[in-house]
Amino acid sequence: MESRLTCRLDPLVHRVGYGLTVVSQRPLVAIPAWNEQASIQEVVTKVRSHQPGAAVLVVDDGSSDGTAQLAAAVGASVVSLPFNVGVGGAMRTAFLYAKREGFDAVVQVDADGQHDPADLDRLLKGLESADIMVGTRFHAESMYFVGGPRRWAMVLLSKALSRMNHGRISDPTSGFRSAGPRAIDLFSVNYPAEYLGDTVGSLSIAIRGGLTVHEAPVTMYYRATGRPSKNALWSALYLGRATLALVATLFKTSKTSKADKA
């Protein structure tokens, strides 16, 4: 009952000013997961212990393993997509869910245990002064290292987006980020599903929609499982697709503004 009241008062609170949003913040931790049964329970449990006040939503992106059941067993809400639509589609589902259920903050966390739930606080607090907080793995204390063409692609994307944003975004491909009410409104309507669209594309849409994007240092671990493949061909492809994704989003203005108005 209490939460319902808060959510109805929310629009008023936001009009008054950002300082007050903390009082009413109702965060949703969204975890897009595709066949992550090995790590999903640990991630959900950790998130819940770090953020007891937050709801946890696992968006099961067409998994064929036990991801959905395992996540539900440790207390996460589960939304199961009928087939795999990619991280972008899974996140838009999460934003739709957040909007309809009256959440005013969404934090995206990877299901593979790459992100440290201890950073959730920082990403949520950052929403007091920004619409989107991007967790960056590149900072003084970071142990994360990327090299070769993949690094060039990241530097290129970072330069371009930082320039658009008039503020530094050192890690635009980071999937560890949070979104406030204005970003939830935008992303529940318009969230790209293409490769890199869920990270770079969504930031570009947000900046063009007039949202404020800030960043915060976070800890990221290397993937324990999966394929951080490092051969030259893959890296070259990555660079090419990253550039294409960036160029495509740069020219994608009209549709965004229309969706924003609607």
Binding site: V59, S77, V79, S80, L81, P82, V85, T93, Y97
Partner: protein
């Protein structure tokens, strides 16, 4: 003359085939129209043998048959682009539907749980 006859028959077969698909409601109008135009233009060129040469000469094309290939290339390209466009639109719509289905399923399961708890 036989080659012309073959062309006429081919154009007619395409026309009848496409029209039949349209009649049975298998093919939607927006796709059928393009193919009917292709069949129609092919028919005209097949029936009037000199037409291709006349048009080709008028456009300054040495071998008129190249005009035919060029037009065919352009038409096929346009059709492919149209299909890619439709496909992209459908992908976006299907994705949207998948999201809605997932959310509805979640809402339904929750209300069912709530109801069964109330019964207990």
């Amino acid at each position: 003359m036989t080659t012309n006859l073959i062309a006429v028959i081919a154009a007619l077969v395409i026309f009848i085939f496409v029209f039949d698909l349209l009649r049975r409601g298998v093919l939607k109008e927006k796709y059928a129209v393009l193919w009917l135009i292709v069949a129609g233009v092919g028919f005209v060129f097949a029936v009037v043998p000199g037409l291709l040469d006349i048009v080709g000469k008028a456009l300054g094309i040495g071998a008129p048959v190249n005009l035919l290939f060029f037009i065919m290339g352009v038409v096929l390209l346009l059709v492919s682009v149209q299909l890619s466009y439709e496909l992209s639109r459908h992908e976006a719509r299907i994705r949207r539907l998948a999201e809605e289905v997932a959310l509805l399923k979640n809402a339904w399961e929750q209300s069912r749980e709530k109801r069964s708890r109330e019964h207990d």
